[in-house]
C-alpha cells in the first residue's frame, strides 16, 4: 500500500512545495489558457503588434496591482490607488502644459508626479497606521479626497499630453516597443524590491501584527512604508495611463482600483496578508487584460461584454482558488 500511495503523496507534497515557492503558478496557467483561447478566436490577437498593444494598455493595471500588493502584504488595503493615479495623471498633464511640453518639462512633471504619489501614500499610511483607522474605510475616504483634488486641478477630461510624451510611450526604439523596455525595467525593479528588508517586514506584519510588534519591528513605520511604496507605484501607473490615453482625466483611475485588488487575489496573494508575490499580481493584471480582449474577439455583443467579462473573472478566480486550495490544504 505504501508503495502505491507514497508516490502520489510525494507528488502532492512537491506540488504543494512548488506552490508555496511560486504561488502565482495557477495564474500563469490561466494566462496560458487565455492566450491559446485568444489565438483560437482571433489568430491575429497573438501577433507582435497586438501583444504590444495589450502591454501598452495594461501596463498601468500591472503597476496598480503591484502597488496594491505591497499594502496587501501587510494585511492592509488601499482603495485609493485609482484616485492617486487620477490625481497624478491630471497633475503631470497640467504641469507639462504649463511648462511648455518640451522634454525637460516632461521630466520635471514626472518627478513631481512621483512626489505626489509618494505624498498620497504617506497620507494613507498616516491615517491607517498612525491614526489606526480601518484601512478599507480610511482609504475609501482618502480616495474621495484625492479625486476631489484631481477635479480641482483639471475639472473636465481632455487636456492633451505633449506629443513627445505619448510618442515616446507608444514608440519603438531599436526595433523594440518602448513599453517592453518599461516592462523589463519594472521586472528588475520588482526583483530588487522583493529582496529588500521592507518587503520582508511587510510580510511579517501581515503574517501577524502582534508577533511583528513583539519582535521589535517598527510596525507603524513599516505599514506607512508599504503605503508610500504603493503611492509611488500608483504614480508610475499614472504615467502609463497618460502615455496610453495621451490626455488628462480626473476620473480615469477610479474604475481600476478594484481591478487591482482582483489582480492581487488572482495572482495568489492572500488578502489576509503575510503571503504573496508581486509577480502573481503582474500576471493577473495581464489575465484581466486578456479576458477583456477575448470577450471582444469572441464577438460578444457590446451590451453583454461587461456581463461576460465579470463571469470570466469569476471563473478565473475560482480556478485559481481551487488549484491553490489543493496545494495548501
Amino acid at each position: 500500500m505504501t508503495s502505491i500511495s507514497s508516490p502520489t503523496r510525494q507528488d502532492n507534497g512537491s506540488f504543494r512545495a512548488l506552490l508555496g515557492r511560486f504561488p502565482f503558478l495557477p495564474a500563469l496557467l490561466i494566462l496560458a489558457v487565455l492566450l491559446v483561447l485568444n489565438g483560437v478566436f482571433e489568430p491575429n490577437s497573438l501577433s507582435f503588434r497586438s501583444l504590444t498593444g495589450l502591454v501598452r494598455t495594461y501596463l498601468a493595471l500591472m503597476l496598480l496591482a503591484v502597488a496594491q500588493t505591497y499594502v496587501v502584504y501587510a494585511a492592509d488595503i488601499d482603495l485609493s490607488v485609482g484616485a492617486i493615479a487620477s490625481l497624478v495623471n491630471v497633475t503631470i498633464i497640467v504641469l507639462m502644459q504649463h511648462l511648455g511640453g518640451g522634454g525637460l518639462s516632461v521630466l520635471a512633471a514626472l518627478g513631481v508626479g512621483v512626489l505626489v504619489g509618494l505624498a498620497c501614500g504617506l497620507v494613507n499610511g498616516f491615517v491607517v497606521a498612525a491614526l489606526r483607522l480601518q484601512a478599507i474605510v480610511a482609504t475609501f475616504a482618502t480616495s474621495i479626497f484625492f479625486t476631489g483634488l484631481a477635479l480641482v486641478i483639471l475639472p473636465v477630461a481632455g487636456m492633451p499630453a505633449p506629443t513627445v510624451f505619448w510618442r515616446t510611450y507608444g514608440g519603438t526604439f531599436f526595433g523594440i516597443p518602448f513599453v517592453f523596455y518599461a516592462a523589463a525595467a519594472l521586472a528588475i525593479l520588482l526583483y530588487l524590491l522583493a529582496r529588500t528588508r521592507l518587503a520582508t517586514q511587510l510580510l511579517a506584519v501581515g503574517d501577524g501584527q502582534q508577533a511583528a510588534f513583539q519582535s521589535g519591528l517598527p510596525v507603524t513605520a513599516i505599514r506607512i512604508g508599504g503605503y508610500a511604496l504603493c503611492g509611488v507605484f500608483a504614480a508610475l501607473a499614472a504615467f502609463c495611463i497618460t502615455g496610453d490615453t495621451a490626455s488628462g482625466d480626473p476620473l480615469v483611475g477610479a474604475k481600476m482600483t478594484l481591478f487591482s485588488v482582483a489582480a492581487v487575489v488572482l495572482g495568489g496573494s492572500a488578502l489576509s496578508g503575510g503571503f504573496g508575490t508581486v509577480a502573481g499580481s503582474v500576471i493577473a493584471a495581464l489575465i484581466i487584460g486578456l479576458i477583456n480582449s477575448l470577450v471582444f474577439f469572441a464577438g460578444t455583443p457590446s451590451h453583454w461584454q461587461n456581463f461576460v467579462q465579470g463571469l470570466a473573472i469569476l471563473a478565473a478566480l475560482m480556478v485559481g482558488v481551487l488549484v491553490s486550495r489543493r496545494g495548501r490544504a
Binding site: 528588508r197 511579517a204 503574517d207 501577524g208 508577533a211 510588534f213 513583539q214 519582535s215 521589535g216 503571503f275
Partner: protein, 220 residues
C-alpha cells in the same frame, strides 16, 4: 492568570504600558516604552502564545530567526543579505537542534518545541542577555520539555539572565536560582531555588491573602 505574572513580563518588555515602577539593567535605568526599546536594551520575550506573539508562522525559519536582527542583514539600497540570514539560521538549527527539513521550511509546519527553539534562536541572534520565558513548556511534549530545560540551563551558564514564568512547581524548583512569587498582582516573596525551598513554601506565598490560586514566577 490572575497573579499578574504575564502582565509584569509584558510591561517590562514594553508590550503593554507600564503603570508604575522603573526598569534598570546592570544598575543603569532604561526607558522601555515599546518592544523595540526592550529588544534594543537586550531583552527578549518568549510568549506563551508563540503562534500569535512570537512567530510569523507563514514565513520560513530563516526569516523568523532573523526577524529581530534585520538591520544587521540590511545592505546597500535596503537589500537583505539572504546568504547571511541563511548561514545564521542554519547555525542555530545546528546549535539548538531544531528539527526542520531546511531553513526554508514554513514555521507553522514545525512542532511546538521546535517553534519554541526558533523563537529562542531569534533572540539569541539578536544578542539578548535577558530572556523572559512565559510558560516555556506549555503545550510541548515531555521529551521536548527536558530539551528546553537543558537549553535554559545552558543559556544561564553562558551568563544570560533567564526569567521563567511557570505554574509547574517542580519545573520552577528545578530551574531557578531565585523564585519570585506573585499573588493577585503583588509580589508576595522571593525564595531561593533548589533544595532549600519546598512546593509548600511557594504555595504559601502564592495564596497569601484572599484566595488566589495562581502561583509563581521563577528567576534563574
Amino acid at each position: 492568570m490572575g497573579a499578574g505574572r504575564t502582565e509584569v513580563a509584558r510591561a517590562i518588555f514594553g508590550a503593554d504600558p507600564r503603570e508604575a515602577g522603573d526598569i534598570s539593567i546592570h544598575g543603569a535605568p532604561v526607558d522601555i516604552r515599546t518592544p523595540a526599546d526592550a529588544v534594543a536594551a537586550g531583552i527578549g520575550y518568549l510568549s506563551e502564545d508563540r503562534k500569535h506573539f512570537g512567530l510569523a508562522v507563514g514565513m520560513d525559519v530563516r526569516a523568523n530567526v532573523a526577524m529581530a536582527s534585520l538591520e544587521r542583514f540590511t545592505g546597500r539600497l535596503g537589500a537583505l543579505d539572504e546568504a547571511g540570514m541563511r548561514d545564521a539560521a542554519r547555525g542555530y538549527i545546528d546549535q539548538l537542534a531544531i528539527r526542520t527539513p531546511s531553513d526554508r521550511q514554513e514555521v507553522r509546519l514545525l512542532s511546538g518545541g521546535n517553534q519554541q527553539k526558533v523563537v529562542i534562536a531569534k533572540w539569541l541572534l539578536r544578542d539578548c542577555d535577558i530572556l523572559i520565558f512565559d510558560e516555556p513548556t506549555r503545550g510541548i511534549d515531555v521529551g521536548a520539555k527536558s530539551e528546553i530545560y537543558k537549553l535554559l540551563n545552558g543559556l544561564a551558564a553562558q551568563g544570560r539572565a533567564i526569567i521563567v514564568i511557570s505554574s509547574e512547581l517542580p519545573e520552577v524548583l528545578r530551574l531557578s536560582h531565585r523564585i519570585a512569587v506573585m499573588c493577585e498582582g503583588r509580589l508576595t516573596g522571593i525564595l531561593p531555588g533548589g533544595a532549600e525551598t519546598s512546593q509548600e513554601d511557594i504555595m504559601r506565598l502564592a495564596t497569601e491573602r484572599e484566595s488566589a490560586m495562581e502561583p509563581v514566577g521563577g528567576e534563574q
